[in-house]
Symmetry: C2
Subunit: 441 residues, 2 copies
Amino acid sequence: MNQNTPRALRLHIGIFGRRNVGKSSLLNAITRQQVAIVSALAGTTTDPVEKPMELLPVGPVLFIDTAGIDDSGVVGDLRVAKTREVFERTDLGIIVSDGEWGAYEESIAAALAERQTPVIVVLNKSDLGAPPEATLARLAELRLPSVRTAAAKRDDPLGDGILDLRHAIVDHAPEDFISNPDIVADLVGPGQMAVLVVPIDKEAPKGRLILPQVQSIRDLLDNDAWCMVVKERELRTALDQLKRPPKLVVTDSQAFLKVAADTPPEVPLTSFSILFSRFKGDLVSQTLGALAIDTLKAGDRVLIAEACAHHPIAEDIGRVKIPRWLTQYVGGKLEFTIVAGRDYPEDLSPFKLIVHCGGCTFNRKEMLNRILKAKAAGVPITNYGLTIAFSLGIFERALQPFPAALAAYVEARREQGRAGRVVGEATGEAKGKELTGKEMA
Amino acid sequence: MNQNTPRALRLHIGIFGRRNVGKSSLLNAITRQQVAIVSALAGTTTDPVEKPMELLPVGPVLFIDTAGIDDSGVVGDLRVAKTREVFERTDLGIIVSDGEWGAYEESIAAALAERQTPVIVVLNKSDLGAPPEATLARLAELRLPSVRTAAAKRDDPLGDGILDLRHAIVDHAPEDFISNPDIVADLVGPGQMAVLVVPIDKEAPKGRLILPQVQSIRDLLDNDAWCMVVKERELRTALDQLKRPPKLVVTDSQAFLKVAADTPPEVPLTSFSILFSRFKGDLVSQTLGALAIDTLKAGDRVLIAEACAHHPIAEDIGRVKIPRWLTQYVGGKLEFTIVAGRDYPEDLSPFKLIVHCGGCTFNRKEMLNRILKAKAAGVPITNYGLTIAFSLGIFERALQPFPAALAAYVEARREQGRAGRVVGEATGEAKGKELTGKEMA
């Protein structure tokens, strides 16, 4: 999904709270940590303010700031109707409190509970002291999860609790919003065709296709689209037999250059890894993570993480190919740590970059939590296919079908330029630049 | 594979034995139980006689009858060379003995052992008495499997031991020959395209494709071919976008009628079930088995057998759809027994028909042994997709790509005609005819 995501498909997060508990500064704190374009819709005094944004790593959300629905005594008819309307369309409620928990908070919590809407309590202004014991006791009684924030603290983006709030959103949002429903079908409509390029190499399990390929085929069929499945060597011949070009070509990352050469420039091209970054992880975060490849220097530590603990083979992509390509790109020796399955380091701080597999055997929540852990440690995280596309200088073309990720990438490149640093195009020429992981995330 | 199978791909079975042990009558006994077209190549007196045939349920074999290589004293140079040549190209050796086991048999067994060629000993003329204890002891010592036959007994095709020999051939032939290498790639060559029609119904596992679909895609890719994967509803639109018609259309059996209507008559059409009957079972046997559907009468018992013990769903094909279709076709109530997994009846004799699943989770040996057990019990056996194609009156079209199966079907229909019975076309009109299962097998 991108910034054009229909409003209905966005996760609607209602923000409730009395005056002066810091609702606006909370929203501002969240907003200033996002790279995606945010446009606030001005409301009337009684209308809630809506902020659509790409919340990393959750995806497209709509924050509904109920500034007009507060505890200011008498509530007019209009205001009651507005309030009800916000409750009705809230998928996840955030109750902001400065520590106090009274009748107002109880009524909001009850209204949300009645609609079976999940709730997160934000105990803001935590820098001014711990919340009252009575509040904590009541939250425990109500079994409401809570997060402590200090949204007004502008100087410490990792210490203001916003990252914890993002974790909580991932953990408590309805599963439907966390599990991205589309792999590829939103890019290839009913009655349209995609071409899936499936190289058969030593890694391809005998007699099978790998899960992302099967899931992509199924996703297209489920949405009344169809596909051609072809090896990279036969792609050109296969395309020649079509009366109309396909709507999209999806390739295994390892055949990217050959497929790019054989796909007409007007046909959108991407990879299974990029589709799966979006489907199982967060494409915007992992796109920005890939930019850190340009900042790697000889001697840096890189974490390669795989979701499944398969038996490694001779030309294994994670164990052999990616380390080799990164080493060549950086032009110096890197220190690689390779982990698989549940075996993921608690302390990510020694790493300059995390390169994760596509995570096809993970659910999205699991992958988002790994991305958030990386953000908490200030370490950029990307995935195999994005790393390959970046190293091959094919990044921009592969991101074309994803406006939000492309915009974030272009914006990050522009900011690098503004910061006075020499930034190359993603052509494999830009090496050893001084960007920190933090700037990337 | 069909009768045009290249000689090199046939299982070469060398038949060795002294004069008068019954090599020729053994070969005749095997031959007269086969429906496929057999053409003996006449040899010179010193040349071995070769008989290519479709050996049910193994597939294409070439029997090499070494009539010229016997124990007749002095062996000329030419004969020695011929003998060596036969040993060299034998994939499975059969040593025929009338009970005696001496220097001659030892030398043949040693020559085959030296080449690591598997051996079956046929103790023929078993109707004339048990083999000598010394022979049995020596075979046990050499760990050579043996089968007792009475090949000259023409009156009892189930009691002459030939079925045991077929079992032994399935069990001892090199795995390469038993495991059919091709699912579909021999029908769609390099640089050619197949269309795979994959309906998405309640049985389709969420987010996946079923194994035969995935394996067919992979088989095409492995052989430098490619495919279009489409639902039945979009098939016509998809075909319209091709400059040339596909080489083959393969459909899920359940969409057969719709797909047949949308596939131009000149384009070969078959089903995944038929491909898998060939790949995992024996298409000729299972084709003939389907003919027994016409002989079913109200009250008959039918065994439905599934390889995997999946959790049955509402519209399960084996538990609901096939029983419903067969009942409609027969026009009376049938008694169904449904088994799954390893739970396969020892006694098959109560059944008039066995309808097996495609067996995609079995290896071929396992399925062939079930087919042989059915033959031993005189019960026709077919599979889900063949049953559907037969019931829908689409049998001949679906068998077009498989000359051996089609020829066997046409021949069986002709014999039914000669037997003076009224035989309808396989259009769903021919019901309740008096054909016995034995005539089918």
